[in-house]
């Protein structure tokens, strides 16, 4: 079953190889431009030398540089017993031979990242805000994601890839600059030596390569980065056997990730949610897949937690045949059941319920309209709101604002009544009579909801533990 990851890894190495070929081609082309016709081999050699130097720097200092850039400080068990325990749990679940070092970043925005090219020397850092805001299951999900990166050797791979991209960018940039400032003279000199057309073509090819190679390399790098995020999510689901934990954590983190103070472009791709692109929609230069999509995949796993289950959910959400982990996974059929949520401390739950009752009462006095959202949030709308739709502040779904007059004015269009009986307290999914898939969160406690597609009302029976 761990072989499942191997196909993904193989594909990653192909991408690295393509980058390597790009680097060598670029070096050769530039070498030929500088010294026709014998500069090709030395040019490629110099390109590889640049790569080697950057690689040595990254290997010797990488981890420490990253941790100090993020202003992380190392902790022991006594500093944060729960965090320590959760890291220990996930180390056991993943079968890593040694527990990674644990660091805390004094930052109020919740986020986390892992570094370390070798699993034995890995470290993971979480922000203080993460510890404050997440419950045990959510924290476990995030730590499992980070341990997943370590387990899948992502950090090593991304270091190699980023060094490759770095050297391609460096060489191409240097060449274009040299051409811009001193190019004219050199070209006339070399053409007087009698290179002819061939030389002109090579110059064209070199310029084209110098412009396109960095772009290609970066696109490949970001594509790899996104794929590995999905893989780490799948690993997290498998390690914890509880995908909703990570999903809830991702939601919490993405809402506040933009506020991380001590980020820096070098560290950003490492975080569980990219702090610099938390709000951005997907584009080819994103280091992470859109959080919304990651959450949807995790929530669509339907009570299962294996790699094959993640793959199936990925295909369902993306509506395509291409998976994210690799064909071997589906064949091996790695499918395991998820576990139930860890109960919150009873005192905390009671306090939340009491507070909710009080605010409900106040809302009713103020005549607020309550719209239950599928994600569990109850949106409160003032009665005199002029707009027709409101967006859920948590998941962004649009809801029609119910009008009291409108509902009574059209009795002929009474929607088909539907009932759904809740099975338990966890995440549940069912289909509306129109065929639209609906997911209920454990926090959903309203007596009804409107199908987002056909607008028919579905009565929810047995929701909420307080009723």
């Amino acid at each position: 079953m761990w072989e499942a990851i191997r196909s993904n890894r193989r594909r990653s190495w192909w991408l690295i190889a393509i980058m390597g070929v790009l680097l060598v081609c670029l070096g050769t082309a530039i070498g030929l431009v500088v010294a026709y016709p014998h500069g090709g081999l030395p040019g490629a050699g110099i390109a590889l030398l640049v790569w080697l130097v950057l690689w040595l720097i990254a290997v010797s200092q990488g981890e420490n540089i990253l941790l100090s850039l993020a202003k992380a400080r190392r902790i022991e068990r006594a500093d944060a017993p729960q965090l320590w325990n959760v890291v220990e749990e996930m180390t056991i679940a993943s079968g890593l031979k040694s527990m990674p070092k644990v660091y805390i970043i004094d930052d109020n925005a919740p986020n986390a990242f892992a570094v370390g090219r070798r699993p034995e020397r890995a470290a993971l850092a979480v922000t203080a805000g993460l510890l404050k805001r997440l419950n045990r299951d959510e924290l476990q999900g995030v730590i499992a994601h980070e341990i997943g990166h370590i387990h899948n050797l992502d950090v090593r791979f991304m270091t190699i890839a980023s060094v490759m991209v770095g050297s391609i960018v460096l060489i191409a940039d240097g060449f274009l600059r040299a051409l811009w400032y001193g190019g004219g003279g050199r070209r006339s000199r070399s053409s007087s030596r009698g290179g002819g057309y061939a030389q002109l073509i090579i110059l064209g090819v070199a310029v084209l390569l110098a412009i396109l190679a960095p772009l290609c390399a970066q696109l490949l790098y970001f594509a790899c980065s996104r794929r590995r995020e999905y893989l780490a999510d799948a690993s997290a689901a498998r390690f914890t056997r509880y995908p909703p934990g990570l999903a809830a954590a991702l939601e919490k983190i993405s809402r506040r990730a933009g506020q991380t103070k001590s980020t820096n472009r070098a560290v950003a791709p490492l975080y569980v949610v990219n702090p610099l692109q938390a709000k951005a929609k997907f584009n080819l230069f994103s280091t992470h897949p859109p959080t919304e999509q990651r959450v949807r995949i995790l929530r669509s796993m339907g009570g299962r937690a294996g790699y094959a289950d993640y793959e199936a959910a990925y295909r369902e959400v993306h509506g395509g045949k291409r998976g994210c982990i690799g064909a071997a996974t589906l064949e091996s059929g790695d499918s395991v059941a998820a576990r139930a949520a860890t109960p919150e401390p009873a005192a905390k739950q009671q306090a939340v319920e009491r507070a909710r009752e009080v605010t409900d009462l106040l809302d009713r006095i103020a005549n607020l309209i309550l719209i239950p959202c599928l994600c569990g949030v109850r949106i409160k709308v003032p009665p005199n709101l002029k707009r027709d739709t409101v967006a859920c502040p948590r998941c962004g779904r649009a809801h029609a604002v119910p009008r009291v007059e409108a509902a009574t004015a059209k009795p002929g269009q009474a929607p088909r009544a539907m009932r759904y009986a809740r099975k338990g307290g966890g995440w549940e999914s069912f289909k509306c009579s129109c065929g639209h898939g609906i997911q209920l969160s454990p926090a959903f406690s309203a007596p009804y909801l409107d199908c987002p597609k056909c607008r028919c009302r579905i009565e929810i029976v047995g929701s909420g533990s307080s009723s």
Partner: protein
């Protein structure tokens, strides 16, 4: 000459076959070692739980001393679990201990003072984490067993496994999911 070539080819094939055999054999040994290691990890966590229990019982006694039967049950279940031998017997004993602990935690719900005790809260976090670690190490153990058992059954590794006496390992089940869920109290 032809004979020499045939001999060389034959010899080469034998060497290749031997290398292939060793590769499979080493792979099997590695998997079996992984199973053993993960079993040791379960052992460590079960011991840790045994070590936590006397402390827990003492703390609960201070607040709920008259819940004698439940406390004694926990102590007895612990003693049984400590002395149990073999995978199946241990599984059964640990299941008993988990049940007794679950009942103790139910009773604890009725003592607000106890639930506010810092010492108890720290113990509870340790106990939760230890239970989780038992679960996760069992999960990893079962994963390794499954991988190992599958490996020794499929062609061609099954030939090597049969020749060198690699036997399938047993899964470790403490309890099923329904029992594992902590009982909810409703008023």
């Amino acid at each position: 000459m032809a004979l020499l070539i045939a001999l060389a080819v034959g010899l080469g094939m034998i060497v290749l076959l031997a290398l292939w055999f060793f590769a499979i054999y080493n792979g099997l040994v590695r998997l079996r070692q992984e199973v053993k290691n993960s079993w040791a990890q379960i052992d460590v966590q079960l011991k840790r739980r045994h070590d936590l229990i006397p402390n827990l019982v003492e703390t609960v006694k201070g607040y709920a001393g008259h819940e004698k039967t439940t406390l004694e049950e926990v102590v007895k279940a612990r003693a049984a679990a400590v002395s149990a031998q073999g995978v199946d017997a241990r599984g059964a004993a640990e299941r008993g201990l988990s049940g007794a602990l679950g009942r103790l935690m139910l009773i604890v719900e009725q003592y607000p003072d106890l639930k506010a005790n810092q010492n108890f809260l720290a113990l509870q976090e340790e106990l939760t984490s230890t239970e989780n670690k038992i679960g996760f190490s069992r999960q990893y153990y079962n994963d390794s067993v499954m991988q190992y058992n599958t490996r020794i059954q499929v062609v061609p590794a099954n030939v090597v496994a049969g020749m060198c006496q690699f036997r399938s390992e047993t899964f470790f089940e403490i309890e099923d999911q329904a029992e594992r869920a902590v009982p909810q109290v409703k008023f």
